[in-house]
């Protein structure tokens, strides 16, 4: 389903990684490991199509994601470093409006259920600027509850989360994989996901490798 071939990433004059190959099928998860600055986030952004790779190609259902374009985006749920939530809005407004922007149908009842699932019931009318970092991350994670998309790309989903929320994310990812979804996750913590196949990919290039032209 998701296939990366010979991916290469250049940042300024540095080559972060090259020759990254993997293939991920339905129900599989890729756990992306590597030191700080090894290019994990860059790889995820390449898989989303935000950053064009310096070399190589990302394919989804055997077609290049650049040709698929919106068709690919319709099946993708990307959770980046930033939470993509607005401090001025309440959690409820945030997930309703971001669902609209992502062209997801979400009524208020479903939104409240999603918030309950991530443990924010009772905070739905409080502006997000009054929430803690962990609670803001939970608002962002609510998308995983209500969006039904095939490919999850999660960048450090556990940052700022407490033990119970980490457990919740692991459960959500597990359910997603059992439904036949795919997930690519970077994290510094061990992922305890009960899935048949968790693959690991290590990004460990020698530092400051020169770019080969």
């Amino acid at each position: 389903m998701l296939e990366a071939s010979n991916l290469e990433c250049l940042r300024g004059e540095r080559r972060l990684f090259s020759g990254v190959d993997f293939r991920l099928d339905s129900g599989e998860m890729l756990s992306l490991q590597g030191k700080n600055g090894s290019g994990k986030t860059s790889l995820l952004r390449m898989l989303c199509g935000l950053t064009p790779p310096a070399n190589g190609e990302v394919r989804w259902r055997d077609q290049s994601i650049t040709t698929l374009g919106d068709e690919f985006h319709r099946e993708l749920c990307y959770l980046g470093h930033h939470n993509a939530i607005k401090e001025e809005l309440t959690p409820l407004e945030n997930i309703v409006s971001s669902a609209r922007l992502a062209q997801e149908k979400l009524d208020e009842q479903a939104a409240l259920e999603a918030l309950a699932c991530v443990g924010l019931l009772g905070r739905e009318e409080l502006a997000c600027r009054y929430l803690s970092q962990g609670q803001k991350r939970r608002v962002a994670l609510a998308r995983l509850v209500h969006e039904k998309r095939a490919l999850w790309i999660l960048d450090e989903p556990y940052v700022a989360l407490d033990a119970s929320a980490v457990e919740l994310v692991a459960t959500l990812v597990g359910e997603h994989l059992r439904r036949g979804g795919l997930a690519v996750i970077t994290t510094h913590q061990p992922v305890r996901v009960s899935a048949e196949r968790v693959r690991e990919l290590w990004l460990d290039t020698d530092d400051a490798a020169p770019a080969p032209f």
């Binding site: 950053t51 068709e71 939470n83 993509a84 809005l89 409006s97 609209r100 922007l101 062209q103």
Partner: protein, 222 residues
């Protein structure tokens, strides 16, 4: 696509309502700049009447410059822009919606303030009407063209000053036809030609500018 369009506008307007200070600040900037001119050049009504169109239009350009840097910067910083770029719709539509929202928040208040400020400059009723009309027609172009600069300078150091450097030269035609329309009314030539050209600029600016803007946003997100 229309749904997305409305969702973006609705969200931006709601956000603007939650932090009205920014909107009000840009409006007061406009008022203060315009009010400074009589203090600088003297209160003779004849001279003021001659200066009014140019002064009001230049002040409108500067007030727009003040609100432009935030057009995409907040969304860029908190990750919303990435999500918008990954939404299954052309990014150009999102940009167009944001341009419309920006005009409603930053452009329309200027249009509504203009007749009041025009009175300070002893403009006749006709001239006041044309001034307001020219701003109404021309300010959307300012939001549209400005969006290109806002996208190009996203996340760049010294972005605000750079934005003015990039965009103000491109505003010149709007300034010429906008202020020219009022001038033509005052001198009795009739503003129709100016206003039609201004309308053409706005149509061009609002409907073509979103595409280079979207391209620039993608470059900024890489």
């Amino acid at each position: 696509m229309l749904l997305l369009f409305r969702a973006v506008i609705g969200r931006d307007l709601r956000l603007a309502m939650r932090r009205q200070a920014d909107v009000v600040a840009a409006m007061f900037f406009f008022i203060i700049v315009v009010s400074l001119f009589p203090l600088g050049v003297g209160p003779e009504p004849d001279q003021l009447r001659k200066l009014a169109p140019g002064v009001l239009w230049v002040a409108a350009l500067l007030a727009t410059m003040l609100s432009l840097p935030r057009l995409f910067a907040d969304d860029y910083r908190d990750g919303t822009l990435e999500q918008l770029a990954l939404a299954p719709q052309p990014l150009g539509v999102v940009v167009l919606a944001k341009v419309v929202a920006h005009w409603l928040i930053a452009g329309l208040p200027l249009v509504m303030l203009a007749p009041v400020l025009g009175i300070q400059f002893d403009l006749s009723n006709d001239a006041l009407a044309v001034l307001t009309l020219s701003l109404l027609i021309g300010t959307p172009a300012l939001s549209g063209i400005g969006a290109i600069g806002a996208a190009l300078t996203l996340g760049v150091r010294g972005g605000g000053v750079l934005l003015s450097l990039l965009i103000l030269p491109l505003y010149i035609p709007v300034l010429i036809f906008g202020a020219g329309a009022v001038d033509a009314t005052v001198t009795g030539l009739g503003p129709q030609a100016h206003l039609s050209l201004l309308g053409a600029l706005t149509l061009g600016g609002v409907f073509f500018a979103p595409w280079p803007t979207a391209a620039a946003l993608r470059v900024a997100l890489e």
